[in-house]
């Protein structure tokens, strides 16, 4: 075979190899494009099982009563005038305080409006007033505690869900007022779960409404709850008792 023919074969083979490699690269790019077109984002499905708004066995103080001397003690050693004082529970309440009014003799005669509700107080319990030179000698009675909300949800889909991605928004349909979205299983959940697995159901702790977090006050009764997670939504009426 002449040298020119061998050269032609070599050049032809090189062309074929180059075209082959280019074809492989092109096919890879086409495959990548198809793969991207087929890619699907998570589609979690979480449904509200129930939402209740009711008085629990303990809760934040709604209002106090003071009836001295028949029920409550006026105590002594309190600073005359108005003083914000902590309220000590004999059971499990913590965090409550109120503006206490004392007379010139240092006896409690009533309370002002600035009630910080705390949590864990029992309806009807006696709370002592922790301030002054003779602390806890006077007391008030818990007249009522706030209702609290509890949310139960279930993962009805086939994907595991990050609990921090679930948001609930309360609404009052009568007045058409909508609250703020909040993450119930970040704000009001004390369990150890971080994820909700398919078929799993969990509930929040009972929690009072808060204007900053939920857009409603503890005394409000929003009657609708809307759940949003990614493109999936659910809505239920709140059971108010």
């Amino acid at each position: 075979m002449a040298g020119s023919s061998v050269a032609a074969m070599v050049v032809g083979t090189v062309f074929i190899m180059i075209f082959g490699m280019a074809t492989v690269s092109l096919v890879d790019s086409v495959n990548d494009s198809i793969k991207n077109a087929d890619y699907e984002l998570p589609e979690p499905q979480v449904e509200i099982v129930s939402i209740t708004d009711k008085q629990e066995s303990t809760g934040p103080i709604h209002f106090l009563t003071y009836s001295e001397p028949s029920i409550n003690n006026a105590g002594s050693g309190y600073t005359p005038g108005n003083t914000q004082c902590d309220l000590v529970s004999s059971i499990s309440g913590t965090g409550a305080s109120v503006n206490v009014i004392a007379n010139a003799s240092g006896n409690v005669i009533g309370f002002g409006l600035n009630l910080v509700s705390g949590t864990g107080y029992t309806d009807g319990e006696t709370v002592t007033i922790d301030c002054g030179t003779n602390p806890n000698s006077a007391d008030f009675t818990v007249g009522a505690i706030h209702d609290q909300n509890t949310i139960s949800i279930r993962n009805t889909g086939s994907e595991t869900v990050d609990l921090s991605h679930i948001f609930i928004t309360f609404s009052d349909t009568g007045s058409s007022i909508q609250g703020n979205p909040f993450a119930p299983f970040v704000d009001h959940y004390s369990g150890t779960n971080q994820f909700l697995f398919p078929g799993e159901q969990i509930s929040t702790n009972p929690f009072p409404l808060n204007p900053n977090t939920h857009g409603f006050d503890a005394v409000d009764d929003p009657d609708r709850a809307f759940l949003a997670i990614y493109d999936y939504n659910d809505a239920e009426s709140v059971t108010i008792t």
Partner: protein, 159 residues
């Protein structure tokens, strides 16, 4: 077998023509490959970019004096989203959208509060109005930024 100078000249000419044609073909092939790769990356960015409305669509408050509403949007994709490139339309009217909760980044799963403002004062809603709201978000990835547009039917309630 080449039998003379004439055939060698023809062979060389053939090789030169084949080389030129191959060069053109390979360049075209390379351009197609690059275009497909770019489109693939854009497609990957697009498909991983998504946002969802968190508000209860039953009653979204509309302030007809200020021409504003508050929207909560969740990054339901897998790319970080650009907080400054959110587009909102109510019907055919474009509204400006600004971050209202101080968020500085928008990572997947996060909900960000936006105030949408009809700066053109075109919209005039009283009572309740069912409208279609269209939201566009763009990912903040470098290189290829994905985009996603979602339309939702909502009820605007003017207090």
């Amino acid at each position: 077998m080449a039998n003379g100078p004439g055939e060698i000249i023809l062979l060389c000419a053939g090789l030169i023509v084949a080389g030129l044609v191959s060069g053109v073909l390979l360049e075209t092939w390379d351009d197609m490959d690059a275009a497909l790769e770019d489109r693939g990356k854009e497609g990957a960015a697009d498909v991983r970019t998504r946002a969802s409305l968190v508000n209860d669509p039953l009653n979204i408050a509309w302030d007809n004096t200020e021409k504003t509403a508050t929207l909560y949007l969740q990054n339901s994709g897998e790319n970080q989203l650009d907080l400054d490139t959110v587009g909102v339309f109510i019907g055919a009217t474009s509204l400006s959208a600004s971050v209202a909760d101080g968020s500085t980044i928008w990572v997947p799963g996060d909900v960000v509060q936006f105030t949408v403002d009809d700066t053109s004062n075109t919209l005039d809603y009283t009572g309740t109005n069912d409208v279609i709201i269209t939201i566009t978000v763009v990912s903040s990835a470098t290189g290829y930024a994905g985009a996603h547009t979602v339309s939702e039917e909502v009820r605007l309630v003017t207090s």
